[in-house]
């Protein structure tokens, strides 16, 4: 009897390890031969720990399972969810980047290859660099880290640069609240990222890669390190990748708790062992990146989407999506959501479908007040904006950003002025300090919102002006995008900024 218990850190954080132990103990006491496999997560976090029992029909799910359910699970008396693949949440998705996540054991390289892994790499290894970069361009893949820059153009710049050493740097500094896709992928299917980085390396002529992984993700660091070790032992990484003659090796580097290092130029400074302050651009990292050499800096999901593009073809990928947002978006449904988790689908679903239909509204059962899309620097969207399709341009038109496609739901008890204040406070804590609008503007922002709270109506104009200055004058997205949550809260929820003033009068 084979039983799957996820080892994703979200599943472990809600008791998966205790469940696995209880199943083993109960099985032993019943004399049942049970093989417990530890998979990643399917992304249905509201059902975690989601235990699956392998049957002739497929994998039958149970969840959320508590340790005391172990006996009933083995006796066959525990209520099941049915076949996991048949669950509505699973059936409605187009799982490309996350096709194996939650299905396989993360460190089983043979299982990875058996489910389509390495097919993309084998295909790419036989192509010219030009053809590889063209394939990525044709897929329409854009940076999944937030900015949405076309990946093919970035790769082409690095490919055409002449240098003795080029690098692939994976930005795994996923510090945005409401985002966990990178973590889930790295913990649940780490070879996908490694494969994507190798293809990128072959494409642009880079032989070394780094994954800059935040220290807040100890499980992801552990799994990625183990995966790199296995990849090296099995000849996937090293002097001749899968005996193709291409050289590529990589390392996992741990960050040190600075949010701003998610900004690509800060990340590069940090990787070099410096303070993680942003660099002015130009020069672009594509021409002068890590140690001054041409460097591809891509997010985890961007790189992890590359293998499937080569396995299934650029046309298939580009055929999904909406307008200029091609392929799939990995929606991360978070916060006060009834069904929180990761949902991968072609771009173009409306925000309302995601919030009301897929997420099922709030966990508290109260009305949705706001949804922050795209991390702590993303705008707060109101229910009257819910017909906005998930797409880079469409969100931009609404004064928001899709960012990393994390959605944090808030119910009607949320105080939007406090959320705006928090955005400024966060920016003040995490500013790298290099530019004045961010370093000082954020501190003044907190003070100005406190003045509004105290009833000073003139401070509203001041806050607006301050936000304009931060947006236009900051060197990077931290200071430049903090106005998104602040101004969207101020404009979208004026009552929250007025109540105390009126009460004071």
């Amino acid at each position: 009897m084979k039983i799957w218990v996820p080892m994703d850190s979200a599943a472990r954080a809600v008791g998966a390890d205790e469940v696995a132990t209880a199943i083993a103990r109960e099985a032993a006491s019943r004399g049942i031969d049970v093989q417990i496999a530890r998979n990643g997560t399917r992304g249905m976090i509201w059902l975690e720990p989601l235990v699956e029992v392998e049957t002739d029909e497929g994998r039958v799910g149970f969840g959320p399972v508590a340790p005391e359910d172990a006996g009933a699970l083995l006796d066959g008396t525990l209520d099941s969810l049915g076949l996991v693949e048949d669950l509505d949440w699973m059936r409605r998705q187009t799982r490309l980047t996350f096709a194996r996540c939650g299905v396989t054991e993360p460190l089983d390289l043979d299982g990875y290859a058996a489910r389509g892994g390495l097919a993309g790499l084998r295909r790419a290894a036989a192509m010219t660099p030009d053809a590889i970069v063209q394939q990525v361009t044709d897929s329409g893949l854009r940076g999944r880290g937030g900015a949405g820059f076309p990946t093919g153009i970035k790769w082409k710049t690095v490919m055409q640069a002449r240098a003795a050493q080029k690098y692939i740097v994976c930005n795994a500094d996923e510090g945005d609240s409401g985002t966990f896709a990178d973590r889930m992928l790295m913990e649940g299917d780490p070879f996908t990222l490694i494969e994507g980085m190798i293809i990128a390396g072959i494409g642009v002529g880079a032989t070394r890669g780094y994954v800059y992984l935040r220290s807040e993700y100890p499980d992801a660091i552990r799994v990625m390190n183990a995966a790199v070790q296995i990849a090296r032992e099995r000849g996937l990484l090293g002097p001749s990748v899968l005996d193709t003659g291409h050289q590529f090796d990589m390392e996992i580097r741990k960050g040190a708790g600075a949010y701003v290092c998610g900004e690509e130029t800060s990340l590069l400074n940090s990787l070099e062992g410096k303070r993680g302050v942003v660099r002015a651009k130009p020069p672009l990292p594509a021409l002068s990146g890590f140690l001054g050499q041409p460097t591809v800096v891509n997010n985890v999901i961007s790189l992890a989407s590359v293998p499937v593009i080569f396995e299934r073809g650029a046309d298939l990928y580009a055929g999904l999506g909406h307008n200029r947002s091609r392929g799939t978006v990995t929606l991360q449904i978070a916060g006060n959501a009834r069904r929180g988790g990761l949902f991968e689908a072609g771009f173009g679903l409306s925000l309302g479908e995601v919030v009301n239909d897929i997420a099922g509204g709030t966990a508290s059962g109260r009305p949705v007040k706001a949804v922050q899309v795209g991390g702590p620097l993303g705008a707060y969207m109101r229910p009257d904006q819910f017909d906005t399709p998930m797409g880079y341009e469409e969100f931009d038109e609404q004064g928001g950003l899709i960012g990393h496609a994390g959605l944090v739901l808030f119910d009607d008890t949320a105080d939007m002025m406090q959320m705006a204040r928090f955005a400024m406070e966060f920016c003040a804590v995490e500013s790298c300090g290099k530019c004045t609008p961010c370093r000082i503007g954020a501190v003044r922002g907190v003070e100005t919102i406190d003045r509004i709270a105290a009833g000073d109506a003139r401070a509203v104009a001041l806050l607006t002006d301050l936000c304009d200055t931060m947006r236009d004058g900051s060197l990077c997205a931290l200071g430049g995008f903090t106005p998104y949550p602040v101004m969207s809260a101020l404009r979208g929820f004026p009552d929250d900024f007025a109540t105390r003033k009126e009460a004071a009068e």
Partner: protein, 158 residues
Amino acid sequence: MTFSSPAPSDEEIRTLVAPLTGLEGPLLPMLHAVQDAYGCIPDAALQVLADLLNLGRAEVHGVVSFYHDFRKVPAGRHILRICRAEACQSMGGAALADATLDRLGIGWHDTTANGAVTVEPVYCLGMCACAPAAMLDDRVVARLDDARMNRLLDEAGA
């Protein structure tokens, strides 16, 4: 109470970081190694690393002080990081953090009187779909409420 800061010799630090000298951009890995070994970045390490990497002592200090993870004095026996980010806030994270600090009678970044627990803020543990969350040393816990948090604190000896 006061904590005794470790005072390793220069030679001990050099030996500890020696395997990392061949890395490209070795300073952060070295600092992590030092902190893993001593629970903090002892003063003595600054000059040793500066000499090793041909940097000024002030430059190394500048790097150490930039990052939230590095500390000048050791933390308590356990570190409890409570997430303050938006997803956790939407599920009552702020009230949970306040109640925790109240129970312990300390503020952010402080250590309990018995030296058991240091509480630090963290901005996102990637548990945004099962908020609110915290991390006790390397173990993440989510769907926290006051009862679960109290069990965690008891376990840590707070």
